[in-house]
């Protein structure tokens, strides 16, 4: 059984120039993301954290994209489901927990923003807000700066399918297209905007075709396959760095959970639909790929689970015990502190 399957499964990552270690690293990031997200739900249901907005089902898209970018060089303008990209860009599970618990040490906001509102200058992660799609023009602005300062980096902006209807998507991508800027717009199409399904949301036959409105290439990839996403983002980055301008990438994914811990998706989608998605769960399918190729052995897998569990336990323990922000800091940083420079 095992053998016959591994015969059937062809090695696709070698063709992309990825080693077995690379794909194991991708898998580990995906798994850590999933487990950390699951822990957040537990903490929410047990009343320890107020809010969870989940990336479950989008780990392949996020880690595949992140793996194609250069840490410390490229910039990221994320959205609220991007916990996977955060981990991939070097934010630790502990730091994410500190953010979830709204503790003073949270590097994203010092406990000022809701979970999922990321930003970490030292890691090239641009601070984000709640209103969707505002990050798209910001990413274009980073790309404009790259051009003006002749710096060889790319900026990746992520957003959801519904968010591609906002004016800022249109204005931002048109600006990038006119000035041929090194920016990648990465849409994680999970086919819902809270309760609104894609057909009530997006009038185009898919999201990738919208690239033509901005004179840039647009590709649709299977967001459940980290290798397909890696390839698309790597190619877009090459084009950008070679001065060939911006790209739009649509990764078709699934939102395995409700929109957030405040949502009940039973109100607008069926059990069947949900179960169907779960059968293509990207974490399982990628694990199967690695297992079939004999790269992810039972031992490796158990070790990884153990390691990750410990990492998350320690992160949780630390964050839960960490101090809240000092109420006396409420007025800090409205403007630049006086006496600085």
């Amino acid at each position: 059984m095992d053998r016959s399957e591994s015969v059937m499964t062809e090695n696709r990552h070698e063709k992309l120039g990825l080693t077995d270690e690379d794909v194991l690293a991708i898998y580990r990031d995906m798994l850590l993301t999933r487990r950390l997200d699951e822990r957040m739900w537990l903490l929410n249901r047990s009343g320890k954290i107020n809010f969870v907005v989940s990336g479950q089902g989008q780990e392949a898209a996020q880690i595949g994209a992140g793996f194609a970018l250069e840490k410390g060089t490229d910039y990221l303008a994320p959205y609220y489901r991007d916990m996977g990209l955060m981990l991939n860009f070097g934010m630790s599970a502990k730091e994410i927990m500190l953010h979830g618990f709204a503790k003073a040490e949270d590097p994203n906001s010092g406990g000022r923003q809701m979970p999922g509102h990321y930003g970490y200058r030292a890691k090239n992660i641009i601070t984000g807000s709640s209103p969707v799609t505002t990050q798209v023009p910001h990413a274009v602005g980073f790309a404009l700066a790259a051009k003006l300062k002749k710096q060889a980096f790319v900026t990746l902006a992520t957003l959801g399918d519904g968010s591609t209807n906002q004016g800022d998507f249109h204005e931002g991508l048109n600006f990038a297209g006119v000035h041929q800027l090194p920016v990648i717009t990465f849409v994680q199409n999970n086919k819902y905007a809270i309760s609104v399904p894609l057909d009530k949301q997006v009038a185009s036959r898919n999201i990738a075709v919208r690239a033509e409105s901005y004179g840039m290439p647009g590709v649709q990839v299977d967001g459940n396959d980290p290798l397909a996403v890696y390839e698309a983002v790597r190619n877009a980055k090459e084009r950008a760095i070679n001065g060939e301008g911006p790209s739009l990438i649509e990764a078709v994914t699934d939102r395995l959970t409700a929109h957030s811990s405040d949502d009940n998706d039973k109100l607008y989608r069926t059990e069947e639909e949900i179960n169907e998605m779960k059968e293509n769960d990207c974490v399982h399918t990628f694990a199967a790929y690695l297992t079939d190729l004999g790269i992810l052995t039972k031992e490796k897998s158990e070790a990884m689970d153990k390691e990750i569990k410990q990492e998350i336990n320690e992160a949780t323990k630390y964050a839960e015990a960490a101090p809240l922000p000092d109420p006396a800091t409420l007025m800090d940083y409205v403007y630049e502190p006086k006496g600085v420079e």
């Binding site: 923003q113 519904g162 906002q166 309760s195 922000p325 409420l330």
Partner: protein, 327 residues
């Protein structure tokens, strides 16, 4: 008479107007099958169907702009902005268009749209799910801004807004949705937009506020009654344009005025209230006008203790009234 929550009163108002007038329809994000993220449109989709209760794409400017177009044609759209924080992409449509259509066309066209949005904090909503943005629209003639403080007012004023032939911004405090309950009449009623309401007659200190803070001020007033501090309480109800004569009367009544808002202080609507008092009541005042408001930070932080620090509450109001009484 039935116990009704603030949000049920809002749902009832929409349900009754949808039933009464076929030109009324509801549009917004997730208002359909889901019934809205706060469930304000709960049941309306089943009762009135996809044509009358429309799930829109995630586009506030289009929700306002398409609504404005339909309103000019003769419909009475009730548009929901999911949170008032997310009304900002629609500011151009609301301020350049809705507010100016009647005036610029010299009364040839008008725009009977109602735009509903939940505002306010104390719900762990952090910077972008807690804001009070009424001040941003309180300098735009052509608009009316209603902020009800009770289930009874919410129902009567929302029905008035939907029937109004000019654009109305209807702001609902999201913490009031399930927190405030009261018995309201079974029979239909409508309340006048533009009129403040005296919630409590008193002789020592006048408190002028709106929205959820009216409830907190009532609590504070009751506690202070035990100390023989007699509070006069005015609920603005419509924060733009303001009910000047009601403000002047209320301020003159006691000569000591406390203005309360959850918004950050500088530039909030209570500044305009203070200005009206400074223009009209100087010689009736026995103490400087006091303002109790949120701190001047961009918006409410998420961490529970920071949020608490930000929020105006019963105790803060009580203390402010007490020190004015002793002035």
């Amino acid at each position: 008479m039935a116990e009704t929550t603030y949000i049920q009163a809002i749902t009832q108002a929409m349900q009754e107007e949808l039933k009464k007038d076929e030109n009324v329809f509801v549009l917004g994000e997730d208002v359909g099958a889901k019934g809205g993220v706060f469930r304000a449109t709960d049941g309306l989709f089943d009762e009135f169907g996809t044509d009358r209760v429309i799930d829109t794409p995630l586009t506030e400017s289009a929700i306002a702009g398409v609504g404005i177009g339909a309103a000019m044609y003769g419909m009475r759209p009730v548009a929901e902005m999911q949170f008032v924080d997310f009304i900002l992409p629609a500011v151009n449509q609301i301020v350049s268009e809705a507010a100016k259509i009647r005036y610029r066309s010299n009364n040839d066209w008008h725009c009977p749209i109602t735009i509903r949005a939940p505002y306010g904090g104390g719900v762990s909503g952090a910077l972008y799910h807690s804001q009070s943005l009424e001040a941003m629209f309180s300098n735009q003639p052509g608009l009316k801004i209603v902020m009800p403080s009770s289930p009874y007012d919410a129902k009567g004023l929302l029905k008035a807004a939907i029937r109004d032939n000019d654009p109305v911004l209807f702001l609902e405090h999201k913490r009031a949705y399930r927190f405030l309950k009261e018995e309201i009449p079974e029979e239909e009623y409508v309340l006048p937009i533009g009129e403040a309401a005296v919630k409590r007659e008193g002789s020592d200190v006048t408190v002028i506020t709106y929205g959820l803070n009216v409830h907190l001020a009532e609590q504070a007033a009751e506690n202070l009654a035990k100390e023989d501090i007699d509070v006069h309480l005015l609920d603005l109800r419509t924060v733009y344009p303001l009910d000047q004569s009601a403000i002047i009367q209320a301020a003159s009544k006691t000569g000591k005025v406390l203005l309360v808002t959850e918004d950050n202080k500088e530039g909030s609507v209570i500044g305009e209230v203070a200005a009206i008092i400074a223009e009209h009541c100087l010689f009736e005042l026995d103490a400087p006008v006091e303002r109790l408001a949120g701190p001047d930070v961009p918006a409410m932080p998420y961490a529970a203790n920071l949020e608490k620090e930000f929020m105006v509450d019963e105790t803060k109001i009580e203390q402010a009234i007490r020190s004015l009484a002793l002035f």
